[in-house]
Amino acid sequence: MKSFGTYISKHLASFAAFLLILVLINVILFGATFYHTVSEDYGEASPRAMLEMASTAATTEGLTDDAVQKLRQYNIWAMYLTPSGECFWTLDVPEEVPQNYNVQDVALFSKGYLEDYPVFVWNTDEGLLILGYPKDSYMKITSNYYSIEAIQKIPFYVMGMLGMDALCLFLAYYFSKRRIIQNTEPIVEAIETLANGKPASLHIDGELSEIAGSVNKASQIISRQNEARANWISGVSHDIRTPLSMIMGYAGRIAANEATTDKVREQAEIVRKQSVKIKELVQDLNLVSQLEYEMQPLHKEQIRLSKLIRSYVAELLNSGISDAYTIEIDIAPEAENAMLECDARLISRAINNLVQNSIKHNPQGCKILLSLKYTEETLTLTVADNGVGLTPEKLQELAEKPHYMESTDERLDLRHGLGLLLVRQIVEAHDGSMKIDSVPMQGYKVTLSFSTLLKRGKNNVSFHSK
């Protein structure tokens, strides 16, 4: 989810950068277009340069030849007025332009035009030099004044404008990012759920509804495949059960038949024992696949785990286990009445798998202790034995290696059975956690922890967006 946010940030940031580059390009293009005109306006032929040149070259008698040549080159006419408004001299002055002026005339044309010719004036000691440019070559602004206040405001205005632009850009960035994330969050979550192999349903209106449709379709395909797989396993395990009953039944009968030889009875006992293993495998396999694909509805009820443990141990002892094993329970007083919302059948199954594991791995016998503690809203159930335990390597392998049911690696060791995998799945179905500790030759301990606080159901993942 975080990566998606960064992704959007990056793209929006690059969009902003692109905007900046665009502005820069505009400035450059503007410069390139107007460079020529600007250089002309302020270059050698500009009125100011011409006036300076002409004023130095002008006397009350006339202009130097050089100056005359230059003015003619640009079609500029000129005249030199005395302080009283008479002409000292004129150069190429058009006919319609008068030859003498009063004060009012000078005041008017000095700012603007003389008979539509843009004119520029230069004050000298002797008089007033006037240059007339061809019609329509310059536009003169006749009313160019600004209040000082307005001029003083310009820097603030520019800064403020830039600041506001930046703010607007940032807000646009911020809100569009938020909106995109809001709209895409459910999609990303749904895809993450799908990636975990779990079905997800997505409800989105508007432009993204098409994506929701695709996600839902993918989810349906996953569900269907999971269902087909679970049904297949359930079907096979179902069909094995009746024949297996008969194998177990007859093997048991032969093993108990006094009329046959000892050897035959021994062999029948082996058949019986092995078929019991198949029985356990078949039962576990079905439950594992049901839990794996969430096909097994959990029958959760408020249960006192203390009671459940006692009844499990009593049943185990009543069914008669070998004297080599001692089973003890230790229920902390505060755990006695603690309730857990759980599926009693599954929790019993998990406890049984752990106890049977201890029995299986310690054929020489061992002491098994089931304890229950309750601290900080967490029920901790421990099944520990003092048997052979596991080497650190084995322990690590158990914790890290995926079970063959969940792995596609064909080289995996297939001798583990399903017991511990089933325990883990049952614990996960109850939002609990499982920890395995072992010291070689000293014992093996599995700790299951469950929170008794009410939690949001994890099943039926569904995402909504508006």
Binding site: S245, Y250, R253, E328
Partner: protein, 233 residues
């Protein structure tokens, strides 16, 4: 425990698998049951049940002309005898519990012959109690019908709670009965915090039935779990 008084009970076995029927019949006959009837379909089972009036019925859930649950409903219209379901599905167990059909037990396939026998005995014992209500312990005899203990000629009467407690233990004789199950038998559902009262009752019962109440040999404490009653064969 002596179950031989149950061997005269007539059993009806319903399963569509002929070979399984034969095997289970053999197991039951070997164990001592005198009459084992069989049926391979819902139709046949109803006819046999009406004619032969069995004392216990063992039904498969999957039958060619219907399922065991509906068969049970049909049977319940004319008989109240106990029913044990044989199922090849794990889910069937949930269904049984959920439907509350009133089946007495269920056994999921594959099963061990010994397990099947034990469950049949347990259901039969629950339903058809032995006529003699006498339980013989080491040093005394309990007569449940009169709520009395006879210890070396001395007759001591039992209170109602003591009677219930002893009867629950005697019904499961030789087996551990959990504290929870005993409390439930005495005080009903959710008996929180009655352990001390239970201890007090056990102490009083020991005074009545044990030769040396400080060294009990009949009513044994299983630490942390519950109690069990040892009877004399």
């Amino acid at each position: 425990m002596d179950n031989s008084f149950l061997h005269s009970k007539r059993l009806l076995l319903v399963d569509d698998e002929q070979e399984l029927l034969k095997m289970v019949t053999d197991i039951l006959k070997d164990a001592g049951f005198e009459t084992v009837l069989t049926a391979a379909s819902v139709k046949e089972a109803v006819i046999v049940a009406k004619q032969e009036k069995p004392d216990l019925m063992i039904l498969d859930v999957m039958l060619p002309d219907g399922d065991g649950f509906s068969l049970m409903e049909q049977l319940r219209t004319f008989t109240d005898v106990p029913v044990i379901f044989l199922t090849a599905k794990d889910e069937a167990a949930d269904k049984l519990a959920g439907l509350g059909l009133g089946a007495d037990d269920y056994i999921s396939k594959p099963f061990m012959p010994q397990e099947l026998l034990l469950r049949i005995y347990a259901v039969l014992r629950r339903t058809y109690k032995e006529d003699s209500p006498l339980v013989i312990l080491d040093g005394c005899t309990i007569d449940f019908s009169r709520a009395e203990v006879n210890k070396g000629g001395e007759v001591i009467s039992l209170t109602a709670k003591e009677h219930t407690l002893l009867e629950t233990l005697a019904r499961n004789e030789g087996k551990i009965v959990t504290l929870d199950a005993l409390c439930e038998a005495l005080w009903g559902d959710n008996p929180f915090g009655y352990e001390n009262s239970l201890n007090a009752h056990v102490r009083r019962i020991r005074e009545k039935i044990e030769v040396d109440p400080s060294k009990p040999v009949s009513l044994i404490t299983i630490k942390g779990l519950g109690y069990k009653l040892i009877t004399r064969k």
